[in-house]
Each structure stands twice: as C-alpha cells, then as structure tokens.
C-alpha cells in the first residue's frame, strides 16, 4: 500500500520547516537510510532519511517551500509492484496528520500533596515529646552522639557502610568516625582518595546495588564537586524510574561557617539542598537531635543530606539513654515556649535564636523558639500554629539572604497566616558577601544575637 512521507520533526522544538532540497525524484527507488531531502529546521539544515523502502510515487511539496508544517504529507512512497496511480489515491485522501496528544488539554487539576504548596487543610502540629518524660539522659557532645548513632546503625544492619576521606585510619578529619575502623573493619569503613565526584557516584551505585552507604564529605564545601551525582543521580532516580528504584543513602559532613577558614570553606548549603525534590534534608542543633535524626536518616529509603556543624561538634547536650532512639523527619521542636513572637531557626542558627530569647525575656518579651530540625520535609504546621498564636515571626539562618529558606518561610507564612500577622516577617541571615577571613569582618558577616534581638524588637514595635 502506498504510504505518505510526512514532514518530520527534526528537533524537540520544531513546528515547521523549509523543504530546502529534494535529493530524490519521482520514480526513484529508495531503501531505509537513503537521504530523501534536506530540511531546514529552526536549528540547522538537516538530512531526512527514508525509513521504509519503496519507490517515490509523487512529490507533494516542491523544494524551496517554506513553512511546511510538521506531519504534513510531503511525498508518497509506493511499495513494490504499485504504480503511480496509487499515489494519487493517497494524496487526495490525505489523512489527518498524527499528533501527540497534548498533556495540558487535561482539565483535571493536578493536586499537590499538602506539604508542597498551599494546603487547604494544613496538618496539625505534632507536639509530642521525642522521648518519654523521666527517661534517663546523659551529657554528650554532638560528636559523641553522632559517632554512637553511626556505630549503632552499622551494628544493626551489616549493609550499612561508611566511606569518605580520612574516615578510617585517620579516625575522621573531625573525629566523627573515631574507633569505627577497629570496630567494623576496612570493608565497612572505607578511606577514599580525594575524589568527591567519583566517590559520591560510587556511593550512589552502591545504593542502587542494595547497600546503605553513608558518604562523608570532609565538609559540604567539597560536595559541590559531587553536586551532579547528588542531584541528578541520587535525588531524581526514583521519579525517573517510575518508582522502580531509588537511592537509600546518607550524604553527611560539616556545613556552614567554621572559624577563620575563608570564603571557600564557609558556606551554608541548606537552601540549596532543601530546594531539591527527592532529597531529604536534615540540619540538627542539639546532640539528641543529631543522634535520633541520624539513625532515622540511615533507615530512610531516600537520599538524605545530613548537614552538620563543626562549631557544634564539641558542644554538650543531654541525650536520652535508650537502646534505639530515633526522631521522625518533618517534626519541628518547640525549643522554648513563648507568646510574643515566633523565632524560627535550625542548625547553628538556634544558638543565636535561643540566646536572643534569653536576652529578650529579660526585657519582658517572651519568644517562642522553633527548631525546624529537618528542612525537607519541613514542619509547616508547627510554624503556622505558633505564628497564629504570637502574630509575629523572625527567622534566623546562617546562609545568604537571597533565595534563602527564610525567604521561603516568609512567603509561606504570608500565604497561610496573613490575617494573623501584626508585622512583616523579618529574616536574619548571613550577609550577602563571600566569607571574609579577618576576624572582625567574619564576625560581622555572620548573624549575631544582637541582630536577632533587634529584629524581634522591630516586629514587636518596641
């Protein structure tokens, strides 16, 4: 049967093109792969090849014709034994060109899950304690809490292993992995060469292959070299595979400013990672949260970014003495109750938030301080409920101000609690500069407690 040769789409954006030149004429025999014509697209002049074999029965569009629509018949191909009259039959009854159905003609509105956009009915805040009252606690540093969390998870599941620079024989550049090599051996505590892009990708492959890798970046500044593997390979695979395979693993390491290490070693990546669907992002403050959230991170079936802080490593907190203490993701903690203003923070920002709250209490302002703890999923409900109670909000974030999480929170609060606000939401963030080295400049580039106090006074009109 004679078939029509249609004007092909030769690029993802092409809708029409110019039939620049025919390289065959009526009566020519063609086979698969032969060049039929040259077609000028929006991108380039391209050769158009035959797919089927046969004889060119009729040319329907003369060369030099501009604006030939994709899928318009341009010639008729005759099969073996057909004569030219068959070409007329086809071209007179030119069929409607096949077109891909358009997705956006669907009138059904795509429904976003509650946390992603604006929930009609926001979930209620979960204010339950992380562990029962009266549980015995022990004073531990963040470093000790993290070390014990890693060890407990490696003990629990033999497919959990840790890899990174200096995690084994050196005992960890920041001593987070101290003692793990002796305890678990070099099969499970793996020193890598200095090669972030490569070992992040190997970690992703190991997760695809059934293991539960913990990949340590000596600091998250170096993870920029591995960003492609984290975002494109780890975060997106579950979606791209239609749910068939995902990437259960943890990327962890210190994030944000340390002290006096200059611009390339002092950046907070919270907002970067928190913007990526497919990642879970955790940024704890207290030792108990480090422990409980890290154990949850290892067990989570998704890629988790666990953002630590070098300055916090040595700080001590009370940690519950429990056999298996975990904290679920997406549950903020009210670190201090108050009724005059809500201060929202996470990670090291909590130091400034809590210090400011203490100072403000001395001046008769009772601040409610919320520690988000996980940035994706984010506990919007706890924030909104608090703002509806206090009617004012200040955010505290170490990272840069532009496109920050603070910006996102402000927008979210405005959209969901506008009528409850008595003042604009103010963002206290790091300054919009690369981190300077000089001690006085560095101090000023970071957030200060006084700035938080000042912001609270502004929103409480004092």
């Amino acid at each position: 049967m004679a078939t029509e040769i249609l004007m092909p789409a030769l690029s993802p954006t092409m809708e029409e093109g110019t039939l620049a030149k025919w390289l065959v004429k009526e009566g020519d025999t063609v086979s698969s792969g032969d060049i039929l014509a040259e077609i000028e697209t929006d991108k380039a002049t391209m050769e158009f090849e035959a797919v089927d074999e046969g004889t060119i029965g009729k040319i329907l569009v003369e060369e030099g014709t501009e604006g030939v629509k994709v899928n318009q018949p341009i010639a008729v191909l005759l099969e073996e034994g057909e004569d030219a009259s068959a070409a007329d039959d086809v071209s007179s009854g030119a069929a409607e060109p096949a077109a891909a159905p358009e997705g956006d003609t669907d009138t059904r509105e795509a429904k976003a899950p509650a946390a992603a956009a604006q929930p009609a009915d926001p979930p209620k805040a979960d204010a339950s304690p992380d562990y029962p009252e009266g549980t015995e606690t022990k004073t531990m540093t963040v470093r000790e809490a993290l070390n014990s969390a890693i060890a407990e998870e490696m003990e629990r599941d033999e497919n959990v292993f840790i890899m990174g620079e200096e995690v084994a024989e050196y005992q960890g550049a920041y001593k987070i992995t101290q003692g793990l090599l002796d305890r678990f051996g070099d099969k499970r505590v793996i020193d890598t060469p200095i090669t972030e892009h490569g070992f992040a990708g190997i970690g992703v492959g190991a997760a695809f292959g059934g293991l539960r890798p913990i990949v340590e970046f000596m600091t998250f500044n170096f993870a920029m070299q591995a960003m492609d593997q984290i975002i494109n390979s780890a975060a997106k695979t579950l979606y791209m595979s239609g749910g068939q395979m995902g990437c259960p693993m943890v990327f962890r390491g210190p994030n944000g400013a340390a002290a006096r290490v200059g611009a390339q070693h002092s950046q907070d990546y919270a907002a970067w990672y928190a913007s990526v669907p497919g990642l879970k992002v955790v940024m704890p403050y207290s030792a108990a949260d480090y422990k409980g959230l890290f154990k949850s991170a290892v067990r989570d079936p998704n890629p988790v970014i666990f953002l630590e802080n070098e300055i916090l490593y040595g700080r001590s907190f009370e940690v519950p003495v429990l056999d298996d203490f975990t904290i679920p993701f997406g549950k903020a903690k009210i670190a201090r109750s108050g009724s005059d203003v809500t201060i929202v923070s996470w990670g090291i920002g909590m130091s400034y938030a809590l210090e400011a709250a203490e100072k403000l209490a001395g001046e008769g302002v009772e601040a409610e301080v919320i520690d988000l703890r996980t940035l994706r999923p984010l506990d919007y409900a706890t924030v909104i409920e608090s703002v509806k109670k206090t009617n004012r909000c200040v955010t505290v974030e170490e990272g840069w101000p532009v496109a920050s999480l603070s910006n996102h929170l402000s927008a979210y609060i405005m959209e969901n609690a506008f009528d409850w606000l008595d003042a604009p939401v103010l963002n206290c963030t790091g300054k919009d500069v690369p981190m300077p080295y000089a001690a006085n400049l560095e101090r000023h580039a970071l957030i200060t407690t006084d700035e938080v106090v000042e912001a609270v006074k502004k929103v409480t009109y004092r």
């Binding site: 292993f161 892009h197 791209m240």
Partner: protein, 338 residues
C-alpha cells in the same frame, strides 16, 4: 540445533549466529521505528539512536551471565533490548505513556529494570561510570561473583569522573568492565579533535587497569573480548577496559545537522562494515540459513517492532496524579541485596 556447520567461524553454532542476527536486527528495526515516531511528533525531546552500534551490546550480552549488571548513557535503547527488556515498555516510555518502563516519567534517556539488572539510562555524560563501579562495589561487598558492564562513549572518556572511578575501581579490585563505545564522534566532535591520546583504553594503564581494543562491528570479536574481560573480573583481578570501535550511522540525536562528517564516510561504513550484514553473510555462506529463513526472521522482528509501536501509541498518557508520585519512597525500593 546447536550443531556446528562448516563455514562458520570456529566455535560458533548456527543457533548462536541466528540469535545475534535476530537481536541486532531487533535493535535496528526498533530504532528505525523510533526515528519514524519522532518524526511524527509522537516521541519528543531528545532521542539518541543506536543504529550501527548493535554488535557492541549484543556481543557483550552474550558474554554476560544471569545476574550481571549493566548501566549506560542516554543512547540506551539497544542496551535495554539486548538485556531482554520488553520492546513495548521501552517504546511506550519513548512516547511518554503509562505503559512505559518509567510510567512515562523518564523518557528515552531514563529507564531502568531491576528485573533485568539494567540500572539506566543516564543523561549526564559519564555520570554512569562511578555508578557502575558502585554497583560492582555492592556485589563485591555482598560476596557474589557478579560483574557490572559500565558503558560510556568516547565523549564521556574525557570526563574527570571516569578517571576518578578508574583509580578507585582498581584500588579496590572492583568487578567492573568499562566498555568505551568509541563511535568516533562525541556529538559532532571527532576523537581526533578532542584528544591527542592515540587510544582511549590505554589511559587505563595510568591506573594499572588492563584492557584492549575490539572491533565493534564484529559481534563475534566483541563477544570473545567480553568473555575475557568477564573472566578477569570474576577471578577477582579488578576492572578491565574494552574500547570497542564502532560507528553510529545516525546523528547524535534527532536534531543533528550532520555537517561534521561526509555522507560518503557514513555510506562506506554501512556498505563495508555493517554488523548485521556480516552475520547475514556468515549465515548464508555457511549454509546455516536460507534467504527464506532470514526473511521470516525479518518479518518476525518487524512484527514485534510494529506491535511495540502500536502499544506505545495506544497506551494512555500517565494519569495527572503521577506528577506527584515517586518523589519519595516509603520503604526501601531495592530488593537487590542478596
């Protein structure tokens, strides 16, 4: 009919040759059909065809055992068909339909099959290379003797992460076969215009990795080299590099202006080195099959591809709800650990 007949190369049965013929032809017809559907607007975006390179995956799959893994770049349709994935599911993914391997959410470059140990389909040049080594690390860790075939092109061979991976794969003796599919052009840049290295596989020597060059237009040569590489890996001797010299007849993707090489160069390859034609000649000359036998295989393959194309048109577009699914897993999506 595993009997050897005179005329075939040593140790190749008629059955085996017919298998290669059918597998390579399936890829070619599938890709031709994909090109056609693209032209009709049924396939969108990027679509990278494998026509001309069929002997590479078919030869290497013949060297693989059950449970061995494979991972590749975005020119991935051939790899999926060769490892036994269903042409219907692959084609329906190309058309972005519910019946596709990724429910229409991945597209040409992003498909996976846990069942067939196919780990993608990766759209970022060379990103699959450390992933392949990671899959091999998992196998070594789990103590099975599986091997991972990690495919990448001559273009990817200039990416830094390839060499980061070589270093660690050799350091840790990972059972991974690095397959450089050297089709001589990275998009439109020929190998000669991108490196002064006389060969790509020899770069492995800097890390202590053995390898060799293979004629990628000869399926039997590819299979033999693949067997050697697999044996090396399974023996615990670490990675192995195969630089398979091949040729892509079509453009890099569908929107390729074809200005970087001559039509004569392409035609010469098709006429003189076509991998399917040479197996066909072997079959006929060796009297393993008659013209009619081959014609009936051609018809079966054509029917199979047409069936896939029909399925890919009839399968509905994914439901709108799918926009919001598979972003996070609720439980471990990997059943692979043994």
């Amino acid at each position: 009919m595993a009997t050897k007949k005179a005329g075939a190369k040593p140790n190749v049965s008629a059955e085996e040759l017919l298998h290669y013929y059918r597998e390579m032809l399936l890829i070619r017809r599938f890709e031709e059909k994909a090109g056609q559907l693209y032209g009709m607007g049924l396939i969108g975006g990027f679509c990278h065809l494998y026509i001309g390179q069929e002997a590479v995956v078919v030869g290497l799959e013949a060297a693989a055992d059950e449970g061995d893994k494979r991972v590749t770049s975005y020119r991935d349709h051939g790899h999926m068909l060769a490892c036994g994935m269903d042409p219907k599911g692959v084609m329906a993914e190309l058309t972005g339909r519910e019946g596709g391997y990724s429910k229409g959410k991945g597209g040409s470059m992003h498909m996976f099959s846990k069942e067939k140990h196919f780990y993608g389909g990766h759209g970022i040049v060379a990103a699959q290379v450390p992933i392949g080594a990671g899959l091999a690390l998992a196998d070594k860790y789990l103590g099975n003797d599986r091997v991972t075939f990690t495919y990448f092109g001559d273009g990817a061979a200039n990416q830094g992460q390839v060499y980061e991976t070589y270093n660690m794969a050799q350091l840790w003796d990972l059972p991974v076969v690095f397959v450089i599919e050297n089709n001589q052009y990275a998009m439109g840049t020929s190998v000669k215009r991108s490196t002064k290295s006389p060969s790509l596989w020899e770069r492995g020597a800097a890390y202590g990795i053995k390898g060799e060059e293979v004629d990628g237009m000869d399926v039997l040569a590819v299979k033999a080299a693949g067997e050697k590489a697999v044996e090396h890996c399974r023996a615990g001797d670490g990675p192995y590099i195969l630089e398979v010299k091949t040729y892509r007849y079509r453009g890099h993707s569908m929107s390729d202006p074809a200005k970087y090489r001559t039509r004569e160069e392409v035609q010469k390859m098709r006429d003189e080195r076509d991998p399917i034609e040479s197996v066909r000649t072997m079959l006929l000359d060796g009297k393993h099959a008659s013209e009619d036998d081959l014609k009936s295989i051609d018809k079966e393959v054509k029917d199979q591809v047409n069936e896939a194309a029909e399925f890919s048109k009839e399968s509905p577009e994914p439901a709108m709800e799918e926009l919001w699914t598979d972003i996070y897993a609720k439980e471990i999506p990997q059943g692979e650990a043994v």
